[in-house]
């Protein structure tokens, strides 16, 4: 009853093309942002920030980047962890080797290094697709795992193989407390989500989708496959690289290559599939789902007095993820985001379906 768009007439192109054309959506998103920026920092506990909100935001950003490649451009990637690692180590090297390097600049440079590597490993996508491409990105994964472990230069010759950053600050504001870390991640995620949303609505986003739906037809109507695919790889690995920087700098603080192993790549791919292929919203849904489910499985049996061992929980999580992936691929390939939009569609007519 409340969610009606009757009477909201668009009188200009700008009004017609805005991201949230319905007033109620704008109010809802405004309220959500207000809660995220104001209410949550006031009342959240340290555990919530460290264990849930910060990982959620960062992985949502990485899933967003991956979704541009897999969901919008249709190129599969099993090497997301590798691109995150390139971002993290790239930014680390810029930060350590150049005096007075500001965090934001290091982050963007880390993203750019991930872009370079992403485009490099994306070049095979011009000749191959599908599973062959999965193989090529898998090569990226294993190669970077090895490189960051064995080549001392990347880790500034740290003896333990683990590197760390400390005393981060942005424009003189220290990013030490959980709240500050959370707000920093939130700002970065909002900026990139807005950018990604606008990119996918623009000409380049439509080119990606055309390539995804049918590459030959796309080439016939004048889209350059090489340009479209490589830009998708570039944008995707840039965002993934920035997410890698956040994951390493903000969430972990000290890390080693295992933080970006192939498991991370699979986890991100699952987020994209469960959340919804080809949807910005889906990345957030998927990340929330995959972060929250293990915690729930850990907690809920305890409330009922059935303690599960951690090993059992992790196996259950594996099984549930596996089953859900198959379920979503069969029943709803557009994932949770599609369910959400179906819900909204129904809400428009509720409670009088005429």
């Amino acid at each position: 009853m409340l969610y009606r768009e009757n009477g909201q007439f668009k009188t200009s192109y700008a009004a017609d093309q805005q991201i949230f054309p319905i007033l109620q959506d704008r109010v809802a998103i405004g309220a959500l942002l207000a809660i995220a920026f104001v209410i949550v920092p006031m009342f959240g506990s340290e555990y919530i920030f460290r264990a849930i909100l910060i990982p959620f935001l960062i992985l949502a950003l990485a899933a967003l980047g991956l979704n541009i490649l897999v969901g919008y451009c249709g190129q599969i990637s099993l090497g997301t962890g590798a691109f995150m690692a390139v971002g993290a180590y790239g930014a680390y090297n810029f930060l350590v080797r150049i005096d007075g390097m500001p965090l934001i600049a290091a982050m963007l440079l880390g993203g750019l290094s991930a872009t370079v590597i992403g485009v490099l490993f994306g070049i095979p996508s011009l000749r191959i697709k599908g599973l062959y491409l999965a193989m090529a990105t898998l090569a990226a994964q294993f190669f970077t795992d090895w490189a960051f472990l064995r080549i001392g230069w990347f880790t500034n010759n740290s003896t333990s193989g683990s590197v760390s950053v400390a005393k981060l600050n942005v424009f003189g504001l220290p990013i030490e407390s959980p709240v500050a870390k959370y707000l920093f991640c939130l700002v970065v995620v909002c900026v990139f989500a807005l950018m990604a949303k606008n990119l996918t609505r623009s000409a380049i986003g439509r080119q990606w989708m055309a390539i995804r739906d049918m590459d030959v037809a796309a080439a016939v109507i004048g889209i350059r496959p090489m340009y479209a695919k490589l830009t998708a790889f570039a944008v995707s690995s840039f965002i993934v690289g920035v997410a890698g920087v956040l994951w390493a700098f903000i969430h972990l603080g000290a890390w080693e290559p295992a933080a970006f192993s192939i498991d991370r790549s699979f986890q991100l791919l699952f987020m994209v599939i469960i959340g919804g292929l080809g949807s910005i919203m889906g990345a957030f849904f998927g990340a929330a789902f995959i972060i929250v489910l293990p915690i729930l499985l850990d907690q809920v049996p305890q409330w009922f007095g059935i303690p599960l061992s951690t090993a059992t929980t992790s196996h259950l999580v594996h099984m549930i993820f596996g089953a859900l992936i198959v379920f979503f691929l069969i029943v709803e390939p557009h994932g949770l985001a599609k369910l959400w939009s179906i819900g909204k569609q129904k809400l428009r007519l509720w409670p009088f379906p005429h």
Partner: protein, 309 residues
């Protein structure tokens, strides 16, 4: 020279085992066009089942005979793999007919996660051993040709013989039996096969069962060599470059590809590794396969040219 030959043989043995896993990939890809990411999870699942059944069955039935226990465990594990094949076909693949390859790939990724979890929930997540009575002591050969002779593991030799026998068996099955002919027909053309009355669903169950059989054999060999544990599931990722190298549709390709990767890995680790700082075994196979993808995308023996973009 002796050292080189030892490395070479070590590589050939490792390669034989990669081939066994790759064989499972190729069988399923040929018959249903599904790139089965879950083959590694199937190897782990089968090996876990085998190890645990061999432990449980003597307890349940109250006898103490290693050979009988192993035989019964093998039969039980194989039955489990057939049930699994049927379940995968019924619950997953039959619902995804005519979907794009990328969707099927992601579905098998889901299956692989599910199997990893299921196997470890059912059978436990410790390190188990499979004891099928393989000799553990090494053998010396050619002692009069080289100084000191060549040191070969008898276990590897037997594993290689089993692998070769399995390949021969599969070749016979494919060439000489009616079911094998039906499988080849489905591999050539789904629609044509269906139009002459070959039931696709049953063929898929059979081919997944055969792949399950290959997984079981590979699992037993790997398991008795290294112990049954989760990392078995990751070894199978090595089989991906093998099938790319050999060609996705070719059984001989899987064998030769496996051997090339196995030998290449070991030799490169010894002779090139020191220049790169060691440990290049991890990525050597992938980079080799990547180079192949750029130069000859259909692999060494692949029949079809994959569609260029």
């Amino acid at each position: 020279m002796g050292f080189f030959l030892e490395t070479l043989f070590g590589g050939l043995m490792a390669g034989m085992l990669y081939s066994l896993i790759a064989l499972g990939f190729v069988l399923i890809y040929k018959a249903s066009g599904v790139f089965n990411f879950a083959q590694g999870a199937m190897v782990l699942f089968a090996a876990l089942a085998m190890a645990r059944f061999a432990e449980w069955i003597p307890k349940w039935l109250g006898f103490d005979n290693l050979i009988v226990a192993n035989l019964l465990a093998f039969v039980a594990a194989m039955a489990l793999m057939i049930v699994l094949a049927w379940a995968i076909e019924r619950l997953c693949l039959s619902k995804l007919v005519n979907q794009e390859g990328i969707t099927l790939l992601m579905a098998t990724l889901g299956i692989s996660y599910f199997l990893d979890g299921l196997g470890q929930t059912l059978f436990g997540n410790d390190i188990y051993s499979i004891n099928v009575g393989m000799p553990k002591d090494p053998a010396m050969i050619l002692e009069n040709v080289f100084e000191g002779g060549l040191l070969l593991s008898k276990e590897d030799l037997i594993a290689a013989i089993i692998a070769a026998a399995l390949v021969a068996l599969l070749a016979l099955f494919f060439q000489k039996t009616a079911t094998g002919r039906a499988l080849r027909a489905v591999a050539d053309d789904h629609q044509a096969a269906q139009s002459i009355g070959i039931p696709l669903n049953r063929i898929w169950v059979i081919v997944w069962s055969v792949a399950g059989f290959a997984a079981l054999v590979a699992g037993i060999i790997w398991g008795s060599k290294l112990g049954v544990q989760f990392s078995l599931s990751l070894v199978a990722l090595k089989a991906l470059p093998v099938v790319i190298l050999g060609g996705l549709t070719s059984v001989p390709g899987a064998i030769i590809g496996g051997l090339i990767i196995g030998v290449g890995e070991k030799l490169s680790e010894i002779y090139l590794g020191p220049f790169f700082g060691g440990g290049i075994e991890i990525w050597f196979a992938y980079v080799l396969a990547l180079a192949f993808l750029l130069l000859r995308p259909q692999g060494l023996f692949g029949e079809k040219i994959i569609d260029r973009v």
